[in-house]
Every structure is written in structure tokens, then in C-alpha cells.
């Protein structure tokens, strides 16, 4: 990875800021053969998305990630463009200290997590955590839960401070309803958006997959997350895309 001055992991900080997500099974929306049920090991996940304030502290400590200092390969003109300056948040609503940081690239999100001794969650980890409602570990097939998430995706969302929503069963906030979130293996999402009615992947574009089609067509929310991840390039940074960090196992 980019050689950063890696901070000594703040163990207490990580324990406090992360929830333990117990091992479980994730059922991908677009499973390849043998992927219908994916085992996910226990891991830790940030309770909230990374905020502007937290990200500001990071770039103050790691100058190379300040807007203007970061090479174009890792961060383009969209990077942190909502901040008043490279080291000041400013007064824009989107730059409020407690709202999720946006306009960050995959590279910069990874660097932030690594500086804490953590990493980005994988797709399967994020989806396992995201399947939990306030009361149920796997609500991914509950029509009400799915509809609730889809309602958010259908409207323009205003950024608001993290942690104000109801937490899910694992004490994790804002997985749905705030920002899209980077995952470490977003490149593993292989949906090709074309004009076919059934959402299957064009087999001439990819090899090894055979025919992949949606396992549950009614879960539009999962489909949109997959589509979002499929559309991303590592250097992209948008106004609706933030991130949170994760760690292996239980003990940091």
C-alpha cells in the first residue's frame, strides 16, 4: 500500500467506535454457481460512517491526503471539493463536522482506515451488517424492511449528522438512509447495465461466470447497491458516497 506514516492503532478508540457483527450467512443478489449462500466470518464495523470532522483530523495528520496534495491517480478534482479549503470544513451543509464525509475516493478511504489500523469492509461484510433491522439479524427478505430502504433510494437525501437514526440489531447506524459506502472489493461487483429486461450479465463481456441472474427480483434496494458498486471506479468521488471502516475478528 502507499507508504504512510501509520499511526499506532488506538485500541480503545477502535473498540468503542466499532460494533461486533457476528458470523453469518449472506445471500448475494447476483450469486454465481455455488455462491447462493456466502459464509461471513465475525468482524467489527464502525457504528457510524466516517464524518467530516474525523476525516479532517486524518488529513491534518497526513498532509499527502490534503486536497491539492494528492496525486490525480488517487484523487481527482472532485476530492473533498465540498470543503472550504484543504484543511477547513467551512460552512456548507455538506461540510458539517458531524455529517458523513463525502467526495472521497476508494484510495483515500483505504488510507484513512489503514491509518487507524483498520480497513474497509468487504461487500459480504457490509451486506451482512446491512441485512439487520433494529430487531432482526436478517431482515433482508422482509418486504417492509426492503420497501423502507427502497423508499430512501428513490428520494433525494439530505445529509444529516451520523448516529441519529435508529441503530440496527448490532448497534450500527446509517447503513441505509444516509450515503452509499465504499467497500474494499467493490470491483467484485460485476453487473453490466444494459438494456436487457431481466438484468442478466452479458456473458461475452466477462468470463467464468456463465449466466448470473438476480436471485430475488423484488429486492430493488440490493440491486441498486450492486448497480452503484458496479458503476464505480476507484478514483471516483461523489456527493453521495462515503465510507466506514472495519476490522477482522473481535479484538482489535
Amino acid at each position: 500500500m502507499l507508504a504512510l506514516c501509520v499511526s499506532v492503532p488506538a485500541t480503545a478508540e477502535l473498540v468503542e467506535s466499532m460494533s461486533v457483527i457476528p458470523a453469518g450467512t449472506w445471500r448475494p443478489l447476483y450469486p454465481a454457481e455455488g455462491e447462493e449462500e456466502v459464509a461471513v466470518a465475525q468482524f467489527r464495523l464502525d457504528k457510524t460512517p466516517v464524518t467530516n470532522a474525523q476525516y479532517l483530523a486524518f488529513v491534518k495528520q497526513h498532509e499527502q491526503w490534503q486536497r491539492g496534495n494528492t496525486p490525480r491517480l488517487f484523487a481527482g478534482p472532485e476530492y473533498l471539493k465540498h470543503w472550504a479549503s484543504p484543511t477547513e470544513l467551512g460552512d456548507a451543509e455538506t461540510a458539517h463536522p458531524d455529517v458523513p464525509v463525502t467526495h472521497v475516493t476508494w484510495w483515500s478511504a483505504r488510507a484513512y482506515c489503514e491509518a487507524r489500523g483498520a480497513r474497509l469492509p468487504t461487500i459480504r461484510e457490509w451486506e451482512l451488517a446491512g441485512a439487520a433491522s433494529a430487531t432482526k439479524a436478517d431482515a433482508s427478505r422482509d418486504p417492509e424492511f426492503v420497501a423502507q430502504i427502497l423508499a430512501w433510494y428513490s428520494q433525494q437525501t439530505k445529509l444529516r449528522p451520523v448516529g441519529e437514526s435508529e441503530p440496527n440489531l448490532w448497534g450500527v447506524y446509517d447503513l441505509h438512509g444516509l450515503v452509499w459506502e465504499w467497500v474494499d472489493d467493490f470491483q467484485a461487483e460485476l453487473i453490466v447495465v444494459d438494456n436487457r429486461a431481466d438484468g442478466t450479465i452479458d456473458p461475452t463481456m466477462f468470463c467464468g461466470a456463465g449466466s448470473i441472474s438476480a436471485s430475488r427480483k423484488e429486492d430493488y434496494a440490493a440491486f441498486m447497491r450492486s448497480a452503484m458498486r458496479s458503476s464505480l471506479r476507484a478514483e471516483n468521488a461523489t456527493s453521495s458516497l462515503g465510507f466506514r471502516c472495519a476490522m477482522d475478528g473481535e479484538t482489535p
Binding site: A32, L190, A209, N236, A237
Partner: protein
């Protein structure tokens, strides 16, 4: 249902205000002269990193100096690979000449042989002997022997290298090259077909996704070398 999905996707695409995609032309980087020292540090951290490079350190520093001037250079990734002969080499050590690169895996029976044969055809038609690199996405199974077998199987010459690297390094290379890949339970990989031409600075000169329609641009790019 079709229209609704389409509309939703269109809205989604519109809502995602993406930053600019990777350059597909060799724009002269006027910013070279004014390049900030900080940007150098972003890719290399403290200079102790250079201690890990191989014995061609002096030559490499020259090459790196040229590459470092470019903010779009993929050689800002401080990554080491192992080739089909078992030799380690720095990703950035390729700077100084164009490189044609693709990510494949040796046990792939469908699209990967197509990628290799496409690269051969492109080179042949352009009369180009460009340095060519195939990197395996299968860190687990593609050991040096597998790489060597692939090199042999396709009867590749010394201008072709088949290489492997760590899963995390591969993730970064794929991110920089815009390659999508996913390991399946069977051990096969689902992946996109991308062939990239890097310029001597390690920036993307031309990128070809899918085999067929974009062949023309890559062919022209190789002819121009």
C-alpha cells in the same frame, strides 16, 4: 417492469456525479515542473521505501524520477511482483518504455486465452514489439510454475512477462486499471476483459474494455509507438 428498472438506473446514473475517468490520451502534463513535493510523498512515503528495490537502484531512481513527475502515473503504486522465472521486480521499474498490460489467470479457459490472443494480434498487426505484461488475479493457485507453463503454452517470447503478486497488490492494480474481478466458489474468476497500454511514464495511454469494438483505438496506439 423493464421501463421502471431502466428509469431507476438512469436516475441512479444521473445522481452519481462521477469524477473524470482515467485519461485515454497522452496529455502533456504541464504540471510536471510545478509538481509538489507532497505528491511524491503520497506514493512513496518516507524514502526508506526505496531500500526495498532491487540492485538496479541507480537506474531505477532515474526512471522513478521521471515517473514521479506524473500525477497520473500508475507507477506511484509501490508494488512488487514475481515473474514467470521466479524473479521479483518492482512494478515501477517498467517505467521508461510503454507497457501493454492485462490481468488474467492461468487456468481460465474462456476469455483469458482470448485476451492473450487479442494482444498477440494487436501487436502483430501494428508491427509492435511492445513490452507486454500479464498479471494473474489468482494469487492462490497461480504460482511461478503455473506462470511459466502459461508462458510456454502460448509460446511467448522475452518481451512477454507473466507475473503474480499479493492479493492486496492485485486489488490496487486492478483498481488503477479499472479491472473488475471476482473469485467464484469453483476457483474460477468472473472478470472484465481489459487491455491497457501504459506510456513510458506509467500513465494510461489507451484502454480497451471488451474485445472487438475498441480494437481500432488500441491498434492505432500501438502503431504510433
Amino acid at each position: 417492469m423493464t421501463y421502471r428498472l431502466l428509469l431507476v438506473l438512469l436516475l441512479l446514473a444521473a445522481a452519481c456525479d462521477k469524477s473524470t475517468t482515467l485519461a485515454t490520451s497522452t496529455e502533456a502534463e504541464g504540471a510536471h515542473a510545478e509538481h509538489d513535493e507532497h505528491a511524491h510523498h503520497a506514493g512513496h512515503g518516507d524514502h526508506a521505501e526505496h531500500a526495498g528495490h532491487d540492485e538496479h537502484a541507480d537506474h531505477q531512481h532515474e526512471i522513478l524520477a521521471a515517473a514521479e513527475a506524473s500525477e497520473g502515473s500508475l507507477y506511484q503504486l509501490d508494488i512488487t511482483l514475481e515473474d514467470h522465472k521466479g524473479n521479483e521486480f518492482a512494478w515501477a521499474s517498467q517505467a521508461g518504455e510503454p507497457v501493454l498490460v492485462a490481468i488474467i489467470y492461468t487456468s481460465c479457459t474462456t476469455a483469458c486465452p482470448m485476451i492473450v490472443s487479442e494482444m498477440m494480434t494487436l501487436r502483430k498487426n501494428a508491427g509492435s514489439d511492445v513490452k507486454t505484461l500479464l498479471i494473474s488475479m489468482d494469487a492462490k493457485r497461480d504460482d511461478v510454475a503455473a506462470l511459466a507453463a502459461m508462458h510456454e503454452r502460448h509460446q511467448l517470447d522475452d518481451r512477454w512477462t507473466v507475473a503474480r503478486t499479493s492479493p492486496d497488490n492485485l486489488r490496487m492494480l486492478a483498481a488503477a486499471l479499472g479491472v473488475r474481478y471476482r473469485e467464484l466458489p469453483s476457483g474460477e474468476f468472473s472478470h472484465s476483459q481489459v487491455i491497457t497500454l501504459l506510456n513510458p511514464d506509467g500513465e494510461i495511454d489507451t484502454r480497451m474494455e471488451g474485445i472487438g469494438p475498441q480494437r481500432h483505438h488500441m491498434a492505432e496506439a500501438l502503431k504510433a509507438l
